[in-house]
Symmetry: C2
């Protein structure tokens, strides 16, 4: 894409306060990329507006000059959704981080899109409330980015995805106009719910500038348990038992012996249970009495549903158990070279899918170690394929593309998703047809055309 003419930058300067637009190479390099490191940033400039009004003027000016926009939040995405590689204008919301007063009766809070997720948590905690969108990058991610990617995380089984916790959206659309969608209303059945279009659209339909968030009471006490089970069928049997028990399940995370071995090796830990086990399950329970937990655990042992287990007795022990799960990603990278995928399956298909995946890798990729872990309770698996010790890096990367196809063929066969949480962005675009049909993609294109006729918002992301 050719660089925009000087007239474009003059027009921006004419409608924006001084210091709003930067063409400093350091800013271009910083704001032009997200956490995906495989592509090079090349924006034409970075705009850092302070108000919704300024965002509107930026969009108007870009529309007049046919300059594409990459909306940008905390840039913690893993699919390249916030990469600006083709001379786009990055519109970063990071200066729009106001968090208004909490409405403690209605349990809502209005924030600007650039508010940091964790800052929202801290603000609401003073009222005994929280916005239950929670994951590792919450210290950098922004509410606008959470909404644009419909962020998931460790609490989805308890609270659902970001979509469920957004009551109102203020969005600047392609005309430069501002839409106010929903507000602080739980119920508003007045035609097509346009909020839902923008949630998860990865910046391809407009720029979210403010949101009214729905809050929930902070949980009281949390109990963490780790169980050993012999196989994936056992993981699922325990899941059913846990869901059927009169307990509030806050997390249900699974990992394999391979994952645990690498965490134990990297972090120099003692294994959490005496005998090794092929599969481990971490269970977190909310506000359960000690008696209820003990009765339930005893029944699990008596019926042979779990082989071994431990209940954290202190907060330090609970943190240690969580570290076994949360340390996996880092430990895989530290002890080898992982190739990562983030998929979802119907829970009913998990066992067959996993067996077939094991077969394919045994047959076609002998010697490759597959480390699987994830939020089993919502069907989300992180499948990490490790480079075999003796293999060249380039040869491994070459073959991972083939392995991805084998993986996604199985995902498709079992009606799963090629991207559970991370989105499509640039990196997963080629695989989109494995989850979304031709008619489905055609309708997505028609919607994009209807909402952003000139295609100025994040072109080339999700769809070409």
């Amino acid at each position: 894409m050719p660089a925009p003419p000087q007239a474009f930058f003059d027009a921006l300067d004419a409608v924006l306060p001084k210091g709003t637009v930067s063409r400093d190479p350091n800013d271009l390099a910083e704001y032009g990329r997200d956490w995906t490191r495989v592509l090079s940033p090349a924006p034409c400039a970075v705009a850092l507006p302070r108000t919704t009004y300024e965002v509107g003027r930026i969009v108007e000016t870009c529309a007049q000059h046919e300059v594409a926009i990459v909306p940008s939040g905390g840039r913690t995405g893993l699919a390249g959704g916030a990469m600006a590689c083709n001379g786009e204008l990055v519109v970063s919301l990071t200066r729009m981080r106001a968090i208004r007063a909490v409405d403690a009766v209605g349990a809502t809070v209005r924030v600007q899109a650039g508010a940091i997720t964790q800052a929202v948590h801290e603000h609401c905690a003073e009222h005994g409330l929280t916005w239950p969108v929670d994951f590792a990058s919450k210290g950098s991610s922004t509410v606008g980015g959470n909404i644009a990617t419909n962020a998931g995380g460790v609490k989805v089984i308890r609270y659902g995805l970001t979509r469920q916790w957004v009551l109102g959206l203020e969005v600047v659309v392609a005309s430069g106009e501002t839409l106010e969608l929903g507000g602080a209303l739980e119920k508003n059945n007045t035609g097509v719910d346009l909020r839902q279009l923008f949630i998860g659209s990865e910046g391809t339909l407009g720029i979210v500038t403010e949101a009214t968030l729905k809050l929930v009471r902070l949980p009281g006490k949390l109990d963490v348990l780790l169980f050993a089970v012999p196989d994936l069928a056992g993981v699922l049997r325990l899941f059913r038992e846990t869901r059927a028990a009169p307990l509030t399940l806050a997390a249900y995370e699974m990992f394999t012996a391979e994952c645990l071995a690498r965490v134990v090796k990297h972090r120099k830990l003692r294994p959490p249970l005496e005998a090794p086990s092929p599969f481990y399950v971490l269970v977190e329970l909310e506000d359960a009495s000690r008696e209820a937990i003990e009765t339930w655990v005893q029944s699990l042992f008596e019926r042979g549903i779990v082989q071994d287990g431990v209940l954290a007795q202190t907060m330090a022990e609970a943190r240690d158990l969580w570290a076994l799960r949360e340390g996996i990603s880092e430990s895989l990278s530290a002890t080898g070279m992982p190739h990562k995928n983030d998929i979802a399956l119907p829970i009913a298909a998990l066992e067959a899918f996993s067996a077939e995946l094991g077969d394919v890798f045994t047959r076609r990729y002998p010697g490759w170690e597959v480390c699987v872990f994830g939020h089993v309770g919502d069907g989300n698996l992180h499948v990490n394929v490790m480079k075999p010790e003796g293999m060249e890096k380039a040869a491994f990367l070459d073959r991972t593309h083939e392995a991805d196809r084998d993986l996604f063929d199985l995902v498709k066969k079992h009606a799963g998703s090629i991207s559970a949480e991370h989105g499509i962005g640039l990196l997963k675009k080629a695989w989109l047809p494995w989850t979304r049909s031709e008619a489905d993609r055609a309708l997505m294109r028609a919607i994009k055309k209807a909402v952003d006729p000139a295609g100025i918002f994040n072109p080339g992301k999700i769809l070409d």
Copy 2:
């Protein structure tokens, strides 16, 4: 609209099994209307397909012959969304009522759109699970209708709207093609979530033919309490206390002394509490220990948050307390002539809105009794204006239009919704601009045009 030519009916007969299409006047009268009785049904015919394939052929044929379609479920709607008044073809899903096997591990069930809501409940209850979409008309309403209207009801405060409980949708779109959106996946961040477009679209974008529903564990014990509070501020103070307590709130319903008086009169009941009170609150708690309830109630009395109250000691007493709330609608009709509205406000605006509403009615409509009740916990108020005793019916109806404008002006001022649960359909169309801005409606129109270019689905509903 002129009647379609015989060639249209011949074309339908050519692609559908015998007995699928009816032009019997009784069928036209029955299937051409919903629960709104103010309009006359006048469809050209009724199609009763048994399969998604047949729905696709019907849509194709209608598109070829430019015949409009009114999708139809249990016809319990209150906004005229399923009325066929202009020679449309009614496509009733009532023969498509299959309910597949429950996936007890994943807690999902796949159903055809014509499945009756209550039949789904009964089917899932065998597994200790439920689809938590619940309201008075569940014995007649269908899952497809629940989805098309994003149905609410008495459990929204606990479980949210229908939108939250739909994992996958099968939809026949304007081309006659079938889209499979989502499936049995909790997480699927692969571009714009097209499911969300169809949920709440009142049949204007396509025909939902099947859905994969998300289920939840059936609640254990439920406790019902009724409290007396002096004013709306007290209703909201109690709400905050209830939400902050370590209790699971299953319902929080409010009604005024005026409502209670009419229920007591109509049903010949004894008042539930000794001294009358301007406001009453019904609270339902899920799986709370008797000790926790008693501690909490004692604290409410000690701090003067409630003036009086009763905890149901038996299931019969719980039913009696619920009857006070659920009997209101019927009792208003039996004891007078109500004019009904179903609005939502931000919870933070409820008190100011109610005060201003009282002022307007005192000033402009002296002698009119306003009966307010509803799901205060989610900001939803049912505002029923009663015809004064001596006033002519026609004069009253004339003036209710003016009163609606006064009501909706206040709703707009406080950023509320003119239709919390019932939708827009035909009856609320004129008031849509009071909740959705011009830019918002323009985008809705653009979406409609993109998804249904020829405008064959439910024309004239929601928007002209």
